[in-house]
């Protein structure tokens, strides 16, 4: 390896091993849409890749306290499950009796037992209806609660966390994990309880009627369980392989289709198709193995359960012949044997889905346990004048690379400060501090002479308006998007804000005006229009301090002029910090701060700095005047 490295150019010597591929998690997760058409033989979750939770006990305990909030519902549900199970257990006994009465020609008793049977059936139907209804309510209740708690957390996470964690991962906890937990709670838990009850109850009843036949039945049932277990283990392995192959294929499809233009531009269609076909063949190979194994499960189980049926019938027949039991008892045993093996299989499968759910709950709780944004600081300033000072500020996102070195800046109320510098020079970081999206490592930032860490965070933010490069709009009406800054504002104020931001004319041209609903966060609007709306929002906030991150991206000339005018109007009489990309902004600024690698290298107004012929001069010549090509 080291031999090779010597001959490679710089940048190639480090191997890329050990990085994890982040394939689209959508693919792997819902890998196995099981369709069960063979009754209880091939139930939910069988063979699915099971995820093991890290500390199941702790998470379970926590889940229990969670459900504590729905204690009454849980108790009712439990009682219902018991009732359903009992009535289901009783039915075959009564049915067996009825058949015995027929054989023994006891007709009056037959009628009575049929009435009892009907009553048992009605009870069973009624209770199981109630059980389903309660289970649905319970699961929705819990899901609602968990989603609420999780969202509250997401809402209060620090920007630092959001910046350093994949958004998709955060969101999948809301969508996949919570769903898993709720289905398990409402369905699997019920089946688990009823399964255990059924097994215990059935064995008890069978023992009561004929212990010899019970033992024989048990042997055959245990055989079933062993085979099931063995097979599901084998299946889990192939299904996991299949999930991986499917994930790979889905990831590939998504990448290739969204990157289709580049594929065409580089004449790569056939290469890519070949790659895809390979992945597709691989998936087919693996899933064929998985599906055939999975598909054999049903017939094999069927086979075993029928063999046990024969065993029960044969021995039952023998015992009936010797007079140990009656015909009705055989009929009863046949039903019980079936009823008894089903929950055992189910429990084995439930174990898997419960594990997956606990792992999901673990992830949800892990996010809920993330610390909230720092809320310390309780000074509520009466009115913010807008004096800002940075004193000896140091900051680094990661240990090795420092973003800001000993940054100092004094801003008088109403001053316009332009921050200029190459990408990565630390301009955005300065802005992040003002809003307390990030906190400084050392040094302090004062607003009106008070350290911002001591100011109530919400109040601090309320006194600042920010216009970001990437405009954020919400799927709501234009009216509500502008009023986002100040819901108490009346329509007149809102229209004035639209007017000031030069967005009034285009809004009023829309057929529904201010009531236009922005679908997909304003996808129908042009980039420039979106930015004007963001400015209108900032106008309505009427802040003492303004932070502008000027957009570099594509807007046409007229819109750009509009935006610029709007920004100038907005900056009037406010302390403004601008990450400047436009020449006019830079020239009109009271003070230009030239940043380079996290340090302030020059400061002054446009003329002063040009005269100095230093960093600003070079930057100006290349960045704004564009003197090279």
């Amino acid at each position: 390896m080291t031999e090779n490295n010597k001959t490679l150019p710089r940048g190639f010597e480090r191997s890329g091993e050990g990085q994890s591929m982040h394939y689209n998690p959508k693919g792997g997760q819902r890998a196995q849409p099981q369709i069960s058409f063979r009754g209880g033989m091939r139930g939910r979750g069988m063979g699915q890749a099971v995820e093991k939770p890290k500390s199941a006990g702790k998470t379970l305990a926590r889940l229990v306290t969670y459900f504590g909030k729905a204690k009454n519902m849980l108790v009712i549900l439990f009682v219902l499950v018991v009732l359903v199970t009992l009535s289901a257990l009783l039915a075959p006994t009564v049915q067996g009796e009825a058949i015995d009465f027929i054989t023994e020609h006891e007709w009056n008793s037959l009628y009575i037992s049929l009435i009892i049977l009907g009553a048992v059936y009605i009870c069973n139907i009624l209770f199981s209806l109630l059980q389903s209804l309660y289970a649905a309510r319970l699961s929705q209740f819990i899901v609602r609660l968990m989603r609420h708690d999780l969202f509250r957390k997401i809402d209060n996470l620090s920007i630092k966390y959001l910046d350093t964690h994949s958004n998709g991962d955060i969101m999948s906890r809301m969508t996949n994990d919570i769903e898993n937990v709720s289905t398990t709670v409402s369905q699997s838990l019920g089946s688990l309880i009823s399964g255990i009850l059924t097994v215990v109850g059935t064995v008890a009843i069978m023992f009561y009627h004929c212990w010899q036949l019970t033992l024989i039945t048990l042997v055959s049932v245990i055989l079933t369980v062993i085979v099931t277990n063995f097979m599901s283990k084998a299946m889990r392995k192939v299904y996991r392989k299949r999930s991986a192959a499917l994930g790979r294929l889905n990831g590939q499809s998504e990448e290739m289709i969204t990157g289709y233009r580049s594929i065409v531009a580089y004449n790569k269609q056939s290469d890519v198709t070949e790659e895809f076909n390979e992945a597709s063949d691989e998936l087919t190979r693996v899933s064929m193995r998985a599906e055939i194994l999975g598909g054999s499960m049903g017939p094999i189980m069927n086979c075993i359960s029928n063999i046990s049926f024969v065993i029960v019938a044969a021995f039952g027949g023998y015992f009936a012949y010797t007079g140990l039991i009656t015909i009705g008892t055989i009929s009863m045993f046949i039903i019980y044997a079936k009823q008894f093996s089903r929950p055992i299989n189910e429990i084995a499968q439930l174990y898997g889905s419960i594990q997956t759910a606990v792992a999901g709950a673990e992830r949800v709780f892990a996010l809920i346990d993330e610390p909230d944004e720092d809320r310390s600081g309780d000074i509520i300033p009466e009115s913010v004048v807008g004096e800002v000072s940075f004193r000896n500020v140091n900051f680094s996102y990661t240990e090795e690379r420092r973003v800001l070195h000993d940054f100092n800046l004094e801003v008088k109320p109403g001053e316009k400060i332009a921050l200029v510098g190459a990408t990565g020079s630390g301009k955005t970081t300065v802005v992040n501090f003002m809003m307390r999206f990030y906190d400084v490592d050392s040094g302090e930032i004062l607003v009106d002479g008070v350290n911002i860490k001591d100011i109530n965070r919400d109040e601090l933010r309320r006194s600042i308006a920010i216009v970001l490069q990437d405009t954020v709009l919400f799927s709501d009406t234009i009216r509500n998007n502008i009023k986002y800054a100040n819901p108490e504002a009346d329509d007149d104020e809102m229209i004035r804000a639209a007017e000031m931001s030069n967005s009034r004319s285009f809004i009023e041209k829309l057929p529904e005006g201010y009531d236009t609903f922005l679908k997909q966060a304003g996808a129908g609007l042009s980039h420039g229009q979106r930015q004007l709306l963001a400015i209108a929002r900032a106008v309505l906030r009427n802040p003492a301090i303004l932070i502008l991150d000027e957009a570099t991206s594509s807007v046409d000339t007229r819109t750009e002029k509009n935006i610029q005018d709007a920004m100038v109007k907005l900056m009037k009489n406010r302390t403004s910090l601008i990450i400047a990309h436009r020449l006019s902004t830079v020239r009109d600024a009271d003070k230009i701060v030239v940043m380079d690698a996290g340090r302030v290298v020059e400061m002054g107004n446009h003329e002063e700095l040009l005269e100095r012929r230093g960093k600003y001069y070079t930057l100006y010549m290349t960045q704004f005047a564009g003197n090279q090509i």
């Binding site: 710089r10 890329g16 809402d155 029928n306 024969v310 009929s331 919400f474 020449l583």
Partner: protein, 577 residues
């Protein structure tokens, strides 16, 4: 869709036959059991019990084998069928022109390739097995019931309509609700996505509580509709069970009466009848499930077919002899409009000629047609009128691969793939060695930041390139175009995320190292293209003026307007150049 299955008709038929075998054995069981009870147990004939028992076990094993074989064949058919469809679909997508892929969004294409194919494949699997199984079970069950006693069959016949009515009722009631559930689910996902992506704005405006309320509202709506669905579904099982249970009680009653009157009836038959009844009635429920998936699968199949049936409009051209690769591009009276909006001329009578080695820039407002114009050169779209020529030959006369091999285009949106950075660059030319990759990255001003990452050129580009900044992605995609070594390079606003200094360095290095290749640059900022040999000002699909920066400053008012808005009062400094 069926023609894909035709190839595997043998597997399908075999699977169906084996399924018939399995079900027959299943149906045979209760009959044998009745025999054991009536003739063995009741008459005390232990030998009969054993011999029938052995027969039973043999039939059970036979049934099991049939079942497994059915699974094997059904799988062979379904998996291969799915694989064929998937491959054809992907191949088709890759062969389509942009015009068609524009019509069906890329997101939708991905779903069609993944979810829809799986859906159809599962349905094939399910129909081969489930459909056959339940039909045979149903018909056979009624027949066997009839054999036990015609009266039993009559009871089942009375119960059946109720079951069917119940099934239809619940399907009708719930299926529209599922669409609403999906919509509400999208609703909460939407709120969450907006909040995660727009966290800075939410926080800046201190809107945490407001957002929580918004989420709670969406959450409540989703839970309510879910509850409605589950409540409805909760009634389905009990309704079916009522019918089944009434039938069972009736069977026992009727069976008992017949037995009492000395009719043709035995307790064993009553027991068998109960088993058959349960089998038949459950069969109906499963059929309902199958029909439900069928409708969903039909929608999927339609979506797949739509893609498979579309034909690429841009096809290889024929030309006798390929011209030398010079690097010349010419537009002759070219007009263009998108298929989706035929009346709206995006380009109107555009003519110009770019000479070998020239740097030709195009500037204009958004929507003025800049991207559409360069898209005509590698034939991403075809011109409506007029001709586009590359190296003197109409682009329509080139084989597509040859044409596209002559042009390196850097797209507006940098599309990178989940593989190491080095491989992403090598994508431009498969046989490039590490030195060439590094050199290309140097030209693209990407080498520095790449070397500064932990794994250097072996750094994986993660999903959608989230680990890289916009400017870094653009630079990698430029390096990828550079390594292609074409005489024509097109930059479609592909340096927008670079600061002007880096951008200037990029073009300088490119000029130094690549010699006299032809460059066509689309830009928003005048500063980035001021030094171009010639600049074309595009306005509403027409070329307003062409010339160098200083010429245009003199002659074009529009250009001056753009200049003034971007570089207002910058003149004094430029005079010092």
């Amino acid at each position: 869709m069926l023609k894909y299955l035709k190839k595997y008709w043998f597997f399908c038929v075999a699977a169906a036959l084996f399924m018939v075998g399995e079900v027959s054995m299943d149906l045979y069981q209760p009959d044998l059991m009745a025999d054991i009870v009536d003739n063995g147990v009741l008459k005390g004939d232990i030998n009969l019990i054993i011999s029938v028992g052995v027969r039973m076990i043999i039939s059970v094993i036979l049934g099991g084998i049939c079942g497994i074989m059915c699974g094997v064949f059904a799988n062979l058919a379904a998996q291969r069928f799915g694989n064929d469809v998937r491959k054809d679909l992907f191949g088709k997508i890759m062969s389509l022109s942009f015009e068609e892929t524009d019509k069906i969004s890329t997101g939708s294409l991905v779903t069609r390739l993944t979810n829809d194919v799986t859906q159809v494949q599962n349905t094939v699997m399910m129909s081969v097995r489930g459909f056959v199984r339940n039909t045979v079970m149903f018909v056979g069950g009624i027949f066997m019931l009839y054999r036990q006693s015609p009266r039993f069959a009559l009871i089942a016949a009375c119960g059946l309509p109720f079951i069917i009515i119940a099934v239809v009722f619940f399907l009708k009631k719930t299926s529209p609700l599922f669409a609403i559930v999906q919509r509400k689910l999208d609703g909460i996902n939407n709120v969450m996505q907006e909040d995660v992506k727009g966290a800075r704005v939410v926080k800046a405006y201190v809107k945490e509580e407001y957002e929580l309320d918004r989420f709670d509202k969406a959450n409540g709506e989703l839970c309510d509709i879910n509850l409605r669905v589950h409540t409805l579904l909760a009634f389905m099982g009990p309704c079916m069970n009522i019918v089944l249970n009434i039938c069972i009680v009736t069977v026992i009653l009727v069976g008992g009466f017949t037995f009492r009157e000395g009719g043709d009836m035995t307790p064993g038959r009553i027991m068998a009848a109960i088993t058959y009844l349960a089998q038949i009635l459950h069969g109906v429920t499963f059929m309902a499930n199958i029909f439900q998936t069928f409708t969903r699968a039909r929608a999927s199949a339609d979506r797949i077919n739509e893609v498979l049936r579309s034909e690429a409009v841009i096809l290889d051209g024929v030309c006798g002899e390929l011209p030398e690769r010079l690097g010349e591009v010419e537009f002759r009276d070219v007009s263009f409009s998108y298929a989706g909006a035929p009346g709206n001329r995006v380009l109107d009578n555009v003519s110009f000629r770019v000479h070998r080695g020239e740097t030709f820039a195009i500037i204009g407002a958004t929507g003025s047609g800049k991207s559409s114009l360069v898209n005509l050169i590698p034939r991403f779209y075809d011109a409506l009128e007029g001709e586009v020529l590359v190296d003197g030959v109409n682009v329509k006369d080139y084989p597509l691969t040859e044409l596209r091999a002559r042009i390196a285009i850097v797209l507006q949106k940098a599309e990178l793939y989940q593989r190491p950075i080095a491989d992403n660059i090598r994508w431009g030319r498969g046989d490039a060695d590490p030195w060439e990759i590094k050199s290309a990255a140097e030209i693209a001003q990407a080498d520095d930041f790449i070397c500064n990452t932990e794994y250097g050129y072996n750094t994986l580009v993660t999903e959608d390139g989230h680990s890289l900044s916009g400017g870094q992605k653009q630079r990698i995609s430029i390096a990828r175009a550079v390594i292609k070594k074409c005489n024509i390079m097109i930059f479609d606003d592909s340096t927008s995320a670079l600061d002007l200094h880096t951008e200037a360095e990029l073009y300088r290095t490119l000029g130094e190292r690549m010699g006299d290749i032809t460059k066509i640059i689309i830009a928003q900022r005048i500063a980035s293209i001021k030094g171009a040999d010639r600049i074309a000002v595009l306005n509403n699909g027409r070329i307003e003026a062409v010339g160098s920066h200083s010429e245009l400053m003199e002659s074009s008012e529009l250009y001056r307007d753009i200049y003034n808005s971007q570089l207002k009062e910058g003149g004094d400094i430029n005079d010092g150049e």
